[in-house]
């Protein structure tokens, strides 16, 4: 073989080999994870610079439907463990369903000091708009509804409720001031951009069912080593510390409360 041809062949082989060395995963994550997952993925990338990790945030229910329809997600983090359980039953998972956190809901406002409020403050007619996530399909919305019902406030509050498509949509209604208060995820209220405003009040978790959150590796990523690696990384001390920092309670530790 001529030297030029040999060089070309070598270059060709290298070009083929190079992308194969770098793996890629796409993560579908519930929108309450926005800030925590951004940080976890940034840390993960530091140790895996050659690889690509993409995260898409949205509503757990929508991802559930999309994965059934063949959406290209390798890991699915749901705010409600029921969705990944259903997918696992339907044969869409390549791992068992892993519980990764319990979420908490808070009363939050961008215009008032919500840390001095309680749910009972919502009865005040001066508060004309209260944002929650849509209880029909958003896990955080369901829990907000349960908490309002349990405190006997639902009937007083319902006519003034506005519904966000996801928990981050509800937070956005509050952040713009369009709704004076909202019931949002603690993980969003603890984000630096929102934490500076108005403060929050933690809603007692005995008022609602637990926000048990779970994830799976999807069937399409069954042979993807990077997905396995990220799965293992979720159990690391650093990841657990990040989750705690954003107000999530961790499975083994929630029992000690």
């Amino acid at each position: 073989m001529a030297p030029v041809a040999r060089m070309l062949l070598a270059a060709f082989c290298l070009a083929l080999a190079a992308p194969a060395a770098a793996e890629k995963i796409t993560i579908a994550a519930a929108s309450d994870l926005k800030f925590a997952m951004d940080e976890i993925v940034a840390d993960f990338r530091k140790a895996n610079r050659a690889d690509t990790v993409e995260v898409i945030y949205g509503s757990s229910g929508k991802f559930h439907t999309q994965i059934q329809q063949g959406a290209p997600y390798d890991l699915y983090f749901s705010a409600d463990i029921g969705y990944p359980r259903e997918l696992a039953t339907g044969g869409f998972a390549a791992s068992e369903v892993k519980r990764y956190a319990f979420g908490r809901i808070v009363l939050w406002s961008a215009t008032m000091d919500a840390s001095k409020m309680t749910l009972a403050s919502l009865a005040d007619p001066k508060i004309t708009r209260i944002a929650i996530a849509n209880p029909r399909h958003a896990p955080y919305g369901k829990r907000a509804q349960e908490a309002l019902r349990a405190s006997g406030l639902w009937d007083k509050v319902e006519p003034r409720l506005v519904y966000g498509e996801s928990i981050s949509h509800a937070a956005q209604f509050v952040q713009t001031g369009a709704a004076q208060v909202g019931i949002i995820a603690l993980s969003l209220a603890l984000n630096a951009g929102l934490a500076g405003k108005g403060g929050y009040w933690l809603i007692p978790d005995k008022l609602h069912e637990p926000l048990e959150q779970g994830y799976i590796i999807t069937k399409r990523a069954a042979a993807n080593p990077l997905a396995k690696k990220f799965d293992a990384y979720m159990g690391s001390a650093q990841t657990r510390a990040t989750m705690v920092k954003y107000g999530f309670e961790l499975p083994g530790e929630a029992a000690r409360r």
Binding site: T128, R129, R136, H137, Y163, E165
Partner: protein
């Protein structure tokens, strides 16, 4: 049913408002050769190319209590507009503006100078000439513009989602209700409402396409 009635009411009111607001804009754009014709035309066309999320985002900020429109409405004692029916009406007026103005402008332009000059020689005032000459001649344009505006408002989704807050009977229009059904995995309900929307859209377009050749013969 509530969602459909709400949608029809919203689209009807928006069409009426745009007939009043859009006609003078279209007339001005059709008659003038001034420098502002092009920039104003471009602004009117903006909602055609802007993602509804951009429009919804800015409207939410503008109408919120800290926004310029929000401050004005609070000062007037109307209260904040987001999450209200009238907030949706105002948003939809912006959203559907080109669908009223552009067909009207085309209709006015196709009349040409001549009929209006004749009217003027017969001592019709400009206002007289507009109502007795231009409007009857541009009638097919008015009908096309109204149908398009109505249909486009019915099809609105992104803007409503951004500023509506999904309140039943107030801002939960048909398109949002369908989205809700799908999100909640209630496909049966989603199918029912989607079918209604599909039939409605088809009938509107069918009527429009039947109307247009006839309009050309009359014109």
């Amino acid at each position: 049913m509530q969602a459909i009635w709400l949608t029809v009411r919203l689209a009807g009111i928006v069409t009426l408002i745009l007939l009043v607001v859009g006609t003078p804009i279209a007339w001005g754009l059709a008659r003038t050769r001034a420098w502002w014709k092009v920039p104003v035309g471009a602004v009117v066309a903006l909602p055609l190319v802007l993602p509804p999320s951009v429009l919804g985002f800015y409207l939410l900020l503008a109408m919120g209590p800290q926004g310029p429109v929000g401050r004005l409405t609070e000062a007037l004692g109307v209260g904040a507009l987001p999450f209200t029916f009238w907030g949706l009406v105002i948003a939809s007026v912006f959203y559907s503006l080109p669908f009223m103005v552009q067909p009207l402008q085309t209709a006015f332009e196709s009349i040409g100078e001549r009929p209006l000059e004749v009217a003027a020689t017969l001592r019709a005032s400009p206002v007289d000439a507009f109502f007795t000459v231009a409007v009857p001649l541009a009638l097919p344009g008015f009908i096309t513009a109204s149908i398009l505006t109505f249909a486009h408002t019915v099809g609105e989704f992104g803007v409503v989602l951004m500023i509506g807050g999904n309140v039943p009977g107030v801002t939960r229009v048909a398109s949002v209700q369908i989205y809700d059904h799908v999100e909640a995995l209630d496909y049966l309900q989603a199918h029912k409402l989607s079918l209604v929307m599909l039939l409605f859209s088809f009938i509107v377009l069918l009527a429009l396409y039947w109307w247009r050749p006839a309009a050309r013969r009359v014109g």
